[in-house]
Symmetry: C2
Subunit: 409 residues, 2 copies
């Protein structure tokens, strides 16, 4: 066999298999109750609406365009719909502030590519979305801890980045019902992130993948909306907003978007042109049709189901988990984040759980850029029914109780 | 406005607008005869077959899977079909040697990402596919000239790359009916590229986007097939083959593939997982259905039409072009490459042509990594009917004759 390592780029050494992806394979084992995925419930997909949308494309005058090459910035009617949608959440944006990506994961990859030179620093929360770390890793950055509630000085960040051989380029965060914690950054925290970004002269990357999945509580304006309120115009902002249809309509079409100042959008368009020309034309058209006809109704349908599951999971945790275990109380999204007693290890617990309790979850360590978070884990309620939640959390709690007792002994 | 330049990565300075893309805008002007694009004729899309394929997905048990997240390596039945297809062209490959990309452009981007660290060297032909240069540019390489007919020593390449601050990582070429020249590398040339790659210990990137568009002449084995003949097993080869459905079925679905040793495929899968998770599930299913049912018939249909257009364009060039102008005689593909008398400039000619002759083409310089090739241009016949070809080449030839005379005066 060829020795490829010296032919590969240095970044290839940071490309490692994802714990989450490996775990997804377990979803097919019928004896396992899985809270490991973070995928939408396929029962909720608007499949009839999509069926009609594709059928109409093939019956109408747009069929040639649907199958042909198209422009890198994306399908204009979809960008127009999105511009109106952004306005509804407090972000006045024009069509030239909207760029279509192949899912918001691609938005994160392109943002890494646009901003990060090797040894630059990205600020991320501890924990953060694992997929963001994977996307950014390809550009060989360092990570430093973003803490929206903390008070580390801008100078301290700048100095650490300089010592690491580069410059801080952006602060990345998911402010609403984040993956993995389900938590939301409050308005004051968002303003502090903007203050920090101003002082450091960096971008803010707002990952809004779960933003429209709020089940209760008051909506907090997106970071981009707060910055527009400061600056008066989206084209003067430094916040790059990444949206996704994967949690609301369907992930299999791979359609997401970025909303930002035109300067950033223009660069992203050039970058996409060089990277994959454009996202699937036909899928952008189908998403546009389904969104125009019933986005709000679809979101309302999802809310009803996921809200119930979220509440069932919180109730089961409350009912079964032993003392010393804590968890977040998300107002939306798909995840609850569980903190085990100190000294327990989520990865070891998973191995045992798959053997004995037959419950799957994601050990929390994967979400920490510094490899900490041993005693944490992520459970998802998006695909779990009442029985699975009750039974799965009961079994997991029994396992945790036993392990905690053994640890204390 | 914010000054973004110091927030962007260094690579952002190499992201520039594409001449071809800007020119595509001209396709809509009805007074212009355009040979500028390089896109398939939408009249030839198998739209009825695609209509049926999507309708069947929505009527069958696969609808949830079609709309859901899927694996990064791609839809298995499509990978199986491709493995059989590769075998038909002399490349015995297993399903684990096949990786689905969002068009072959994404394959090129991922290959740049996998192999190129800043200041590494990529060997490319002079001229080469502009989209490959754009894809690779993001990874900040140097370029050196690959000449399959030449005799520059491996040591000379290695020394030049070292002087440039890195190492030669791969030789990239389109061996069949390349974009932009339409020319084919003969078997001896392919073997020499393999020899060079062996000596330099680098990868060979075989861009096979046009490989199935041969209209006459004898097929030459793909470079990957020749290397398997040497090594006995695809998993011992260094050639990475990039295929596309964009020229045969339809580009708007964004489905292509890479065929290579499992070591390379595994890395590409990890890279894709981090970059966009996977290509559109539903589109991979639709492509698979259409390919399984009638790939060969579709290719035969395209051959008939494009072969006629190719021949009409060569005849028109022969009939109208003045002495001192030469052009390639492609046995397939979509392009003819025209060399003007020395001293003429393709870009200046285009500006004049759009005003007076009303004919569009692509100036050749964009395809040269070193910015040479002033007196060359690319004309595409894929979307031109007899009348457009006759009239367009006549007008272009008249313009060239006048310019050449003015230059000689």
């Amino acid at each position: 066999m060829l020795d490829w390592d010296h032919i590969f780029a240095t970044r290839a050494s940071r490309m490692r298999a994802s714990e989450i992806r490996e775990l997804l394979k377990l979803l097919d084992r019928p004896d396992i109750i899985s809270f490991a995925g973070g995928i939408p419930d396929p029962e909720l997909f608007p499949d009839v609406e999509f069926k009609d949308a594709y059928a109409e494309i093939f019956s109408g005058p747009a069929v040639s365009a649907a199958l042909q090459y198209s422009v890198s910035e994306g399908y204009k009617p979809l960008r127009e719909w999105l511009a109106k949608q952004m306005e509804k959440i407090g972000i006045p944006a024009g069509v030239d502030n909207i760029f279509i990506t192949s899912g918001s994961q691609q938005g994160l990859d392109y943002i890494g590519k646009l901003f990060l030179s090797p040894n630059d620093t990205a600020l991320v929360t501890w924990p953060t979305y694992l997929g963001a770390l994977q996307a950014f890793n390809a550009y060989e950055p360092h990570y430093d801890q973003l803490n929206p509630g903390g008070n580390r000085t801008p100078a301290a960040y700048a100095e650490a980045a300089k010592a690491a051989g580069g410059r801080v380029k952006f602060a990345y965060l998911s402010a609403d019902f984040s993956n993995p914690t389900g938590e939301t950054v409050d308005r004051a925290g968002r303003e502090r992130v903007l203050d920090l970004a101003e002082e450091l002269d960096i971008a803010v990357i707002e990952d809004a993948a779960y933003q429209s999945l709020r089940y209760d509580g008051e909506a907090i304006p997106p970071i981009l909306a707060l910055e527009i309120a400061r600056k008066g115009d989206i084209n003067h902002t430094r916040t790059v907003y990444c949206g996704s249809f994967s949690k609301t309509l369907a992930p299999g079409l791979r359609v997401g978007w970025v909303c930002a100042s035109e300067t950033v959008i223009r660069k992203l368009v050039l970058l996409k042109q060089a990277a994959d020309l454009h996202s699937s034309t036909i899928n952008q058209m189908a998403i546009c049709t389904v969104a125009e006809r019933g986005f709000d109704a679809q979101v309302a349908k999802i809310h009803r189901v996921y809200k119930h599951r979220r509440s069932a999971m919180l109730a089961a945790l409350e009912k079964y988990m032993p003392d010393g275990v804590t968890w977040t109380k998300p107002e939306g999204g798909m995840f609850v984040w569980v903190t085990l007693p100190k000294g327990m290890d989520g990865t070891a617990l998973l191995a045992k759980s798959l053997e004995t309790a037959k419950v799957a979850f994601v050990p929390g360590r994967a979400f920490f850029a510094d490899g900490s978070g041993e005693n944490t884990l992520r459970v998802s309620f998006s695909c779990a029914n009442d029985k699975m939640i009750e039974e799965g959390i009961r079994r997991l709690s029994d396992l945790v109780r036993g392990e905690a007792a053994a640890l204390a002994a």
